[in-house]
């Protein structure tokens, strides 16, 4: 069951400072309302994964690994591969996170990233079929949160795209009942590049890429995922309050611009 979360008491003491700053057009880390924190992307850190990316978004750190294995397709999509996105919000990343089964925050994070990749048809699912209805390749995207300083959705989205874009796999073929791999690595076929852009409403002001302190005082949050042609492919509102119609329009337009800036950085980093 989902219930109102308790915020750490420190946040309540800081609430006024953070909110007052934002109301005066400033932010706690001296950014403007529409700018991202410094973004660093490094791919290929994990040799045993098909693709991997470590993303530093300010002090938030996320590691994403992509593994491709053979498995069976879902009965309703016999001619498509399988995509699975999972997120781990472990105690390593924040005193707010606990061990145990995935929290609703982890599930929401994974599902928002999943929606962006799936709905934009980023991974060429048809190319993953080995034998229709029987054997396909399964793409696992595992998101590991290492340090939580806010806006995990964007950090994870950037990491997922960088890891997928830099993923290499052996060409698999079916010989009889056995899967055999041909030598030589191929890139994972990608048709699209979805990038999530997250906003927070602090008081009456909208800021992009909220830090943890801003997330703890925000009224509401909106993630807009934009695909490479500038169309929306996923959205998710979070937080206890909401947005006006005009605020939503403004954020969608800003998301189109911000996503293309980040997409260029991701693809440049993925090329290595």
């Amino acid at each position: 069951m989902s219930f109102t979360p308790q915020l750490p008491p420190v946040a309540k003491l800081e609430q006024k400072t953070v909110a007052d700053l934002v109301a005066n057009g400033k932010r706690i880390d001296e950014r403007t309302a529409d700018s991202y924190r410094p973004l660093h992307i490094q791919v290929g850190l994990i040799e045993k994964a098909n693709g991997s990316a470590q993303v530093h978004l300010g002090k938030s750190k996320v590691l994403v690994g992509v593994k491709v294995e053979t498995g069976t397709p879902f009965p309703d999509t016999p001619d498509e591969g399988v995509l699975t996105v999972n997120a781990e919000l472990g105690p390593l990343a924040s005193p707010l996170f606990e061990t145990g089964p995935p929290s609703e925050q982890a599930i929401e994070l994974a599902r928002v990233i999943d929606r962006g990749i799936r709905e934009s048809k980023a991974v060429d699912m048809k190319s993953l079929v080995l034998l229709k209805g029987k054997k396909v390749q399964v793409v696992f995207v595992d998101i590991y949160i290492l340090d939580h300083d806010g806006n995990l959705i964007d950090a994870a989205s950037i990491g997922a795209l960088a890891a997928l874009a830099s993923a290499k796999l052996l060409k698999a073929e079916l010989k009889g009942d056995e899967v055999v791999y041909k030598p030589g690595l191929h890139p994972l076929p990608l048709n699209n590049h979805p990038v999530a852009v997250t906003f927070a409403k602090v008081g009456k002001t909208i800021v992009v890429d909220p830090v943890l302190e801003e997330e703890q005082v925000m009224n509401a949050r909106l993630t807009v995922t934009i695909e490479k042609n500038g169309n929306i492919c996923a959205m998710q509102k979070g937080g206890l309050s909401g947005f006006t119609q005009d605020e939503l329009k403004t954020m969608v337009h800003l998301a189109v611009q911000k996503s293309s800036e980040n997409r260029a950085k991701i693809l440049a980093a993925a090329k290595g």
Binding site: T4, E227, L240
Partner: protein
């Protein structure tokens, strides 16, 4: 039940959808309030083939105690689908989808409930989807805010919700199951009318920014209509109580 086959066209040449609706037309909605005996508040909604029952308890003592908040009530919410509510039986174990929806539905309701009046308590909302037909999270929110009102929990106002989507390149209101499945996008929206806030917004599929703006306007117009229906449904319960009371008075006078 085997899944129905994919229809050839979702919209015919005259712009009519598979269930006979126009693009901007809601499915028939039936709302009832106060239909459960034990729950503090309850509501039932039928929207198309959706049949959803919502029960509310509270404010009541927080269990487990550590979730209690010192300054306000904790709002808890569970969205659940019955195993028989869909074509292929749904495993009764809570799915990741249900967990996500429970969270976004709770967040859509939090801002209207005056939780600071009841610190250290919980207010529990149970949404049981008995039959699902597309747009069940929105129908669930519409019914949940009625059930909260029926429980006598102080609220700023009612929340109304409705989805829009894109089928065959056109924005269409209140998608049914088939339209959701074979359409191009789904955009569920919940709206708090007087505060003028969108408190639930999700999207999957592909929409241009212009299509999004058009869809949002359609959804908000529909939310206004649904909000009116909610108010009528709430009043109707008290009209029935009034009639019963008047009948009793009459018989007492005769006796």
């Amino acid at each position: 039940m085997p899944e129905p086959k994919q229809p050839e066209k979702l919209i015919d040449d005259k712009g009519i959808r598979i269930d006979g609706r126009r693009l901007d037309q809601l499915r028939p909605i039936k709302l009832e309030v106060g239909i459960l005996d034990k729950a503090d508040g309850s509501a039932y909604i039928e929207q198309g083939k959706n049949k959803i029952l919502v029960g509310v308890y509270g404010p009541r003592e927080a269990h487990p105690k550590h979730i209690a908040l010192p300054d306000r009530a904790v709002l808890r919410c569970r969205y659940r689908m019955a195993p028989f509510s869909v074509d292929e039986r749904k495993n009764p174990a809570p799915s990741r989808r249900e967990m996500e929806l429970s969270k976004v539905i709770r967040e859509s309701l939090e801002s209207v409930v005056l939780t600071d009046l009841y610190p250290r308590t919980t207010i529990d909302v149970f949404i049981e989807v008995l039959q699902s037909d597309g747009g069940s999270r929105c129908a669930g929110i519409t019914a949940a805010s009625l059930a909260l009102a029926d429980a006598g929990i102080p609220m700023r106002e009612l929340v109304a919700a409705c989805a829009v989507g894109k089928i065959q390149g056109h924005m269409a209101l209140d998608l049914s199951d088939a339209e959701d499945k074979y359409g191009e996008a789904d955009l569920p929206v919940a709206w708090v009318p007087n505060a003028n806030l969108v408190t639930l917004l999700q999207m999957d599929g592909i929409l241009t920014p212009n299509e999004f703006e058009k869809g949002l306007t359609m959804a908000l117009d529909a939310c206004k209509t649904i909000h009116g229906m909610q108010q009528e449904a709430l009043k109707k319960k008290y009209l029935v109580i009034k009639e019963v009371a008047e009948e009793r008075e009459e018989t007492e006078v005769v006796a």
